[in-house]
């Protein structure tokens, strides 16, 4: 086969591949694109186009239910992500560095459970726990943002621990040994070498936990109380009464924030290189 023939064959293959790629992206992103487009629709109908307008964005900005729910979700996400990062880092560090210890198997199983347990079970069991605790020791008094934060943190710990552990296992112990060899106490070595090494994993774990919390409907529904509805809960109850483009506007804002964040991240990464 000549070089020209091969190039031609290669071009045909890559055209077919391009088609597949386009189909794949369409499958993933067409619904989102549809949603973004219709958020600018002037009509109340969610399926018929009636000219461009920012009407729904204005309604969104003045709708206290959605704005409050969004702010609450952000607060819960930030709080639970921070809590999960603190606990998950300790767990991941212990598993990666302490070798064999009593209860290691139990800790590993306990950390794996939230990854495979159905959310409904997790939510239900946490609800029961909170109710029983309230009866037994009077805390937590009622359910609301606090209990949702705790519930989300307890789920996210597993993810953070997995990320941190993988990073530490990857990095090995040689650098920490080098630090101690150069007169750094174990605590110093941790602060000066291990922590900077772990930093990307901590950030990734925190963002993962944040996203999981922002995204969660099931666990939040079980563990929340009156007056503390997270954004997914509000959106879900709104759609049950029939959607309005206001939800599309909200979704577009969220997509814009996420896309902006990703763009910023890749820009920073590009600079770092």
């Amino acid at each position: 086969m000549g070089a020209a023939a091969r190039r031609c064959w290669g071009a045909r293959v890559s055209r077919l591949l391009l088609l597949w790629l386009a189909a794949g992206y369409a499958f993933l992103y067409a619904p989102i694109a549809y949603l973004v487009v219709f958020s600018f629709n002037a009509s109340r109908m969610v399926t018929a186009w009636d000219g461009a307008s920012l009407r729904w964005y204005q309604e969104l900005a003045t709708d206290p239910t959605l704005v409050d729910a969004a702010l609450l979700s952000l607060r819960i996400a930030a709080g639970s992500a921070t809590l999960a990062t603190l606990i998950g880092t300790a767990a991941g560090y212990g598993l990666a560095r302490f070798g064999r210890f009593r209860g290691r198997g139990a800790l590993e199983a306990a950390l794996a459970a939230p990854l495979v347990l159905p959310e409904v079970i997790t939510g239900l069991s946490l609800l029961l726990l909170f109710v029983m605790l309230e009866q037994a020791i009077g805390w937590p008094r009622g359910r609301g943002a606090g209990t949702v934060t705790l519930a989300h943190a307890s789920v996210s710990v597993a993810y953070v621990a997995a990320v941190v552990r993988a990073r530490l296992a990857d990095a090995g112990t040689t650098l920490e040994q080098a630090a101690m060899d150069l007169y750094a106490s174990p605590a110093r070595a941790f602060a000066l070498v291990t922590l900077p090494l772990m930093a990307p994993a901590l950030l990734a774990g925190w963002l993962l936990a944040f996203t999981l919390s922002m995204d969660d409907l099931v666990v939040a529904s079980f563990t929340s109380g009156p007056g503390a509805s997270t954004l997914p809960m509000v959106v879900f109850s709104m759609t049950r009464l029939g959607t309005t483009p206001e939800i599309y506007a909200l979704a577009t804002v969220i997509v814009a924030v996420v896309a902006g964040g990703l763009a910023l991240l890749s820009l920073l990464r590009l600079r770092a290189r």
Binding site: T174, L175, Q177, A178, D181, Y183, L197
Partner: protein
């Protein structure tokens, strides 16, 4: 600084990594630990650095027992095989790491870092990150970092193994130059016998967690303690036979060889270095037939089969070209050597 190790034993679970090991390293000495993988040489280094806890024995540095001290309290630095440079710190900060822990700050710190970088000729790289450097440069940063705090003893774990061949010879010379200049005692671990012979003041050959022999390079090479050392360091032809009280070595076929040594009579091994066997008659002689010749430019190795079927190797320097030394396979030859080339070893 004097390092004195006595009766050191290290166990991993139920495996013995070091057993009853004694070793003394003198001030300013470049001591090379040579051994195969799993011989315990790296374990010994890690025990001195403090990363491995011995279950018995003492490691005494200038009268202080190091055993109860954690790694960061030992006046000993390690240059790691993988260099272990901190990826998030610049070259200068890597070198400054140990100095900062010693409490050095400001101008004094900067001066010492500059001095160390000048020592390894990397002043221009101070602001770079380790991953921006070549392998040879990283090696020099690691050396500067481990030498900067002025350790009394520097441990080097295969410091040249990550370098390519052409860099290795230069770096070896450089390492020896630095060691002489600073007068720091070095313990260097390697599995490369050329490195060991070329660099060491003394060599310790390790096997199965023990020191098989300790001595100057020529001493270990020319008077190996046993068959393992003879074959591990360089090549050796081994003959089995009996030693008579007058130093005559008798082979099973009745051939008598003069060894120039005396000792208790009994079964022994005779080790002969290939480069000591000439392809000409000598005070000791063994006849044979050429099997093959292996040309190596500066020298040629000739394999000779003895009448009993065993093979002997002879290496000849080609100071007059290959033409004079070329032999056809099947040609009869006589291998000759002087009595002092005989190395008599215990029979086991």
């Amino acid at each position: 600084m004097t390092l004195a190790i006595t009766g050191l034993g290290v166990r991993y679970d139920d495996m013995t990594a070091l057993a009853d090991l004694d070793l003394t390293v003198a001030p300013g000495e470049l001591f090379v630990l040579l051994g195969g993988s799993g011989s315990g040489k790296t374990t010994l280094l890690r025990a001195i650095a403090g990363f491995v806890r011995p279950w018995t024995g003492r490691i005494v540095l200038d009268g202080t027992d190091l055993a109860p001290l954690p790694p960061h309290r030992r006046p000993v630095n390690t240059m790691f095989q993988s260099y272990a440079l901190f990826p998030h710190l610049s070259v200068a900060d890597n070198v400054a790491f140990g100095l900062r822990r010693q409490g050095l700050r400001g101008a004094a710190l900067a001066a010492r870092v500059g001095e160390m970088l000048a020592l390894v000729r990397l002043e221009a790289m101070a602001g770079r990150r380790p991953h921006e450097l070549s392998g040879g440069q990283q090696q020099r940063v690691a050396l500067a970092r481990s030498l900067a705090p002025g350790p009394r003893l520097l441990l080097l774990d295969e410091p040249l193994s990550a370098l390519d061949r052409s860099l290795r010879a230069d770096t070896r010379t450089e390492l020896m130059r630095l060691q002489r200049r600073l007068g720091t005692s070095f313990i260097l671990v390697t599995h490369d016998q050329d490195e060991a012979l070329g660099m060491a003041d003394r060599i310790g050959v390790m096997r199965n967690g023990r020191l098989a022999q300790v001595g100057a390079p020529d001493e270990v090479y020319e008077r190996p303690a046993d068959r393992f050392v003879a074959e591990f360091l360089g090549a050796a032809n081994i003959l089995v036979g009996e030693l008579a009280p007058d130093g005559t070595f008798r082979l099973p076929d009745g051939t008598l060889l003069r060894t120039g040594t005396t000792g208790q009579a009994g079964p022994r091994l005779l080790a002969l270095r290939p480069e000591r066997l000439r392809l000409e008659d000598g005070p000791n002689r063994l006849p044979g037939i050429v099997v093959a010749q292996e040309y190596a430019g500066e020298s040629v190795t000739t394999q000779v089969r003895r009448p009993d079927g065993s093979l002997l190797r002879s290496v000849q320097a080609l100071d007059r070209g290959f033409g004079a030394a070329r032999l056809a396979p099947g040609a009869p030859v006589t291998l000759g050597w002087p009595p002092e080339a005989c190395i008599v070893l215990p029979a086991t």
